[in-house]
């Protein structure tokens, strides 16, 4: 069971965890990303490539499912305007074993960072700027290559 949602609205991590707990595995791992208000950030604007995003994230999920024996995967990624404290992304995995669930969760986050067609623009009181991709994130994603 895997499900991907690319949406503007918020989501409920509790409901997602409950569904994953019911998938019959022995372990459920999750990651929730939240907008930080660093440096006086007022908002983030997340742009994406609607014709590509869902299919691309599903490819990333398929890659994870091939590498680890997962009983459930849930990915939610928001787009649009988000303020500090708001959730951006959720990745949840269920597996019989903790290591598979935790590793797949980390893999999915690393690949979403570098392989999903999203772009972040930061809004401050006096300026805006597009977030630059970090070499560190590419290196993390590359470290999973095989």
């Amino acid at each position: 069971m895997s499900r991907v949602s690319i949406q503007a609205g918020d989501f409920d991590p509790a409901a997602e965890l409950a569904a994953l707990e019911a998938s019959g595995g022995g372990g459920v791992a999750s990651f929730t990303g939240i907008v930080r208000g660093d440096g006086g950030l007022i908002a983030l604007e997340l742009e994406h490539y609607p014709a590509m995003t869902t299919a691309q994230v599903e490819r990333i999920v398929a890659e994870a499912s091939e590498r680890w024996p997962l009983l459930g995967v849930r990915v939610i990624h928001r787009f649009g305007r988000l303020e500090p404290g708001e959730r951006i992304v959720f990745v949840g995995t269920a597996s019989r074993h903790r290591t598979a669930a935790l590793e797949a969760c980390a893999f999915l986050m690393d690949w979403l960072k570098s392989q999903a067609p999203f772009w972040k623009k930061e809004y401050f009181a006096d300026r805006t700027q597009w977030v630059e991709a970090r070499a560190e994130d590419d290196a993390k994603a590359d470290s999973w290559k095989r």
Binding site: Y49, A51, Q56, Q115, P117, W119, K120, W130, E132
Partner: protein, 84 residues
């Protein structure tokens, strides 16, 4: 015809998010097309002057800039992604 779609600061520099152009020959690479777009000047020069800052997708699949455009219907050009 080939659809070109732009995202993030590429879109902002160009001033629109999509356009249709005459289809180039199938063996023309994305990199060559980017050079041609840069030669238009103005916002295009700004957006496309530094191909090392750009990434691309052909028909919604990431590809290297040296890929030929082939029979693709849609070419997207954008900065490195920053999701997650």
């Amino acid at each position: 015809m080939l659809s070109l779609v732009y995202f993030a600061w590429v879109r902002e520099a160009v001033g629109h998010d999509e356009e249709r152009i005459e289809r180039p020959a199938a063996d023309v690479t994305i990199r060559a097309l980017i050079a041609a777009l840069a030669a238009r000047g103005g916002g295009y020069a700004e957006a496309f002057a530094q191909p090392e800052k750009l990434r691309a997708a052909l028909d919604q699949h990431f590809v290297p800039l040296d890929s030929p455009i082939g029979e693709a219907k849609e070419l997207a050009i954008f900065p490195p992604v920053t999701g997650g």
